[in-house]
């Protein structure tokens, strides 16, 4: 019987393994990047040629200054001593002895586009102008074009009773609720948003969690709580420890998130 040749005399072959495919994707990516760089170089060469023809910064500054001076601005204080004709007229008129013209003396009118209340000691002050409706309670021919932000409180009585909403309350301002209805609860009590009735929250505002405080229940979370972003609640008493590692978390995440900032090399966390 013939014996097979001893296997010990033959060199052992490595086990078969397929060749890994050529990294065409990575190569294509690198080629694309090189293509981009070449394109950038072309653009920069063109820009370098054009930049020498640009006007200096002083010419741009002149354009800015000229534009600013040429345009009026309602937020700029005007210390102009210009006195428009209408202002001079009113100044003269209200300099006259008041007689029974108190309704003129205390009128609001337009001067340089802004309202001016004249206070003349010889006049009794008439009712204040209800400039909210932009009509002066004085001479009807006067166009009371007030800046609208000076509209007075909609409440007919003194401004201390004005609520921040549209309804006037008989309570003091500090008692007015955040919604349009007037509540009898003071500001330190939780007045649930959108509800018409007030309830008493037994926890101070600082312990009320978003949407969770009401009917005597305070949302008190454990002193340290651990949440993964973006599931951190916005509870003011909660301290979140962030375990987020996703690079696309924004830096302005409301609770805890990691963010990547160009000039910070590591991921950093901002916690609530």
């Amino acid at each position: 019987m013939a014996t097979a040749a001893s296997s010990s005399s033959l060199p052992s072959l490595p086990p078969p393994s397929p060749k890994s495919p050529p990294d065409l994707y990575g190569k294509r990516r690198d080629t694309a990047r090189l293509h981009m760089l070449d394109r950038e170089i072309t653009f920069l060469e063109v820009e370098l040629k054009n930049v020498e023809a640009l006007q200096p910064a002083s010419a741009c500054c002149k354009e800015v200054a000229d534009f600013v001076v040429a345009n009026s601005d309602p937020l700029l204080p005007s210390r102009s001593k210009k006195n428009h004709r209408s202002c001079r007229f009113w100044k003269w008129l209200c300099g006259l002895p008041c007689l029974n013209l108190s309704w003129i003396c205390c009128c609001c009118f337009c001067c340089e586009g802004f309202p001016v209340h004249l206070k003349l000691p010889s006049c009794h002050c008439c009712r204040p102008c209800s400039c909210c409706s932009c009509s002066c309670n004085c001479l009807p021919s006067i166009n009371c074009s007030l800046p609208k932000w000076l509209c007075c409180c909609l409440c007919p009585t003194s401004s201390s009773n004005c609520c921040k909403g549209s309804n006037c309350c008989s309570f003091s301002k500090s008692s007015c609720c955040k919604w349009s209805s007037c509540c009898s609860c003071s500001r330190s009590k939780c007045c649930k948003w959108r509800r018409r009735s007030c309830f008493s929250c037994s926890c101070p505002e600082s312990k009320c969690c978003q949407g969770s405080c009401g009917f005597g229940n305070c949302c008190i979370l454990p002193s340290s709580c651990s949440f993964q972003c973006p599931s951190c609640p916005s509870c003011c008493s909660c301290k979140c420890s962030c375990t987020c590692s996703c690079p696309s978390c924004p830096k302005v995440h409301p609770c805890c998130c990691c963010t990547k900032s160009f000039w910070r090399s590591a991921f950093c966390c901002f916690c609530c």
Partner: protein, 384 residues
């Protein structure tokens, strides 16, 4: 070189890459050197040489005349309508509120599908609003549509496609059908709201765009084909919507994230606010940095700038900071003329957003203290 036929070896590619990078850096240096030689003055130097008088505010000249209370979380974004004095605000409480800024009434309170909202904007007609945030989508709400059974306004359109959070959004002026978003995926996108599809993508992996999160955008009101963007890559870029492949110009100078950009009222300049604590004014046509607005504090710390806007004439630059300050800068003379954060009724937290009313008569600030405040000219003067 054809992308479809990579003939070079990996080693050759790397070598070419290094050589191209060297050439690029060399060109950038030469460009910077030439640009610096054109900076013969800054805006403050020019204004002083022209004898410009500084802006001075009296104690009642700019006052807080309204506080809009109602959000139960930090306010992140706000926008005015172009008329009728309404404001939309977005908050960490997961709601958008539409306010009548004059009467403080809440006209709409919209509960959002995703609470993590970061940006909101009004459409030019005021008929719809948009918002976006961590959900990476832009939601559109039509304010005239009927509410659902829970009393919520339904989403009328969702714009999907960003691969990162939406940091900023703005409708194209005079077009209720197009808006631009900035995103954490390093791109800006022009959307067609009617179809819900992207019209153009600015930047991205193989295009010359931002190399980090986009944090802010501002569209040119005078020429709505141009918009500026600010990014975590410390640059601001100018884009032409007709050419999405590459930014028209890149503006360097900041040393930190550019958190806010805003076009100057004349449409030929724009301002930026940054994590490095400075604001800057850049010229669009030349690329010049015209002015740096920096206020050193006694402790040498400069808190980051979160948001900026200009007054209607451009004379005032409003800048909100993380420490609750809101500086009013004299744009021409680069001096702080007022700090709204030190006035009566000022915010108790970081200023996160601000915006000017369309007629320029009031400024609205939004804060992490959950409130919005409206600042306007006090207007009372005594006639002599």
């Amino acid at each position: 070189m054809s992308l479809s036929q990579p003939k070079m070896s990996v080693a050759e590619l790397k070598e070419r890459h290094l050589a191209a990078t060297d050439t690029l850096n060399n060109l950038k240096q030469r460009l910077n050197h030439t640009r610096r030689s054109l900076l013969d003055t800054d805006l403050a130097g020019y204004a002083r040489s022209q004898g410009k008088s500084p802006v001075t505010f009296g104690p009642t000249d700019l006052v807080c005349c309204r506080t809009l209370q109602g959000h139960t979380g930090k306010v992140y974004s706000l926008d005015w309508t172009s008329e009728r004095n309404r404001i939309v605000s977005a908050s960490q409480d997961g709601r958008l509120i539409v306010w009548n800024a004059l009467t403080r009434q809440k006209i709409h309170a919209i509960k959002l599908p995703c609470a993590w909202v970061m940006a909101t904007a009004f459409s030019p007609t005021g008929q719809s609003i948009t918002c976006g945030g961590l959900d990476s989508v832009c939601s559109i709400f039509n304010l005239n549509s009927a509410t659902d059974k829970d009393g919520n306004l339904p989403v009328s359109r969702t714009l999907c496609g960003h691969k990162g959070y939406i940091s900023s959004c703005q409708y194209v002026p005079d077009e209720d059908t197009h808006l631009i978003t900035g995103s954490g995926d390093q791109t800006c996108v022009l959307w067609d709201i009617t179809t819900g599809l992207k019209t153009s993508v600015f930047g991205g992996e193989f295009q010359s765009g931002h190399t980090a999160d986009v944090l802010s955008i501002s569209i040119n009101e005078s020429n709505s084909r141009m918009f500026a963007s600010g990014s975590c890559d410390t640059t601001a870029r100018l884009w032409d919507t007709r050419m999405a492949s590459r930014a028209v110009r890149t503006f360097h100078g900041h040393e930190g994230d550019v958190n806010s950009v805003k076009l100057f009222p004349d449409g030929n300049r724009f301002g930026t606010g940054s994590e490095d604590g400075t604001c800057r004014l850049f010229d669009i046509r030349t690329g010049h940095q015209l002015q740096v607005y920096c206020q050193k504090h006694s402790d040498n710390e400069t808190p980051p700038v979160t948001s900026i806007t200009f007054s209607i004439s451009g004379r005032l630059l409003f800048a909100g900071y993380t420490n609750g300050d809101c500086y009013v800068w004299d744009t021409l003379l680069a001096k702080v003329v007022l700090n709204l954060g030190s006035l009566q009724d000022s915010h108790e937290g970081r200023i996160s957003c601000l915006g000017l009313a369309a007629d320029g008569s009031a400024l609205c600030t939004g804060s992490w203290d959950t409130n919005l405040k409206i600042w306007a000219f006090g207007g009372h003067r005594r006639m002599i």
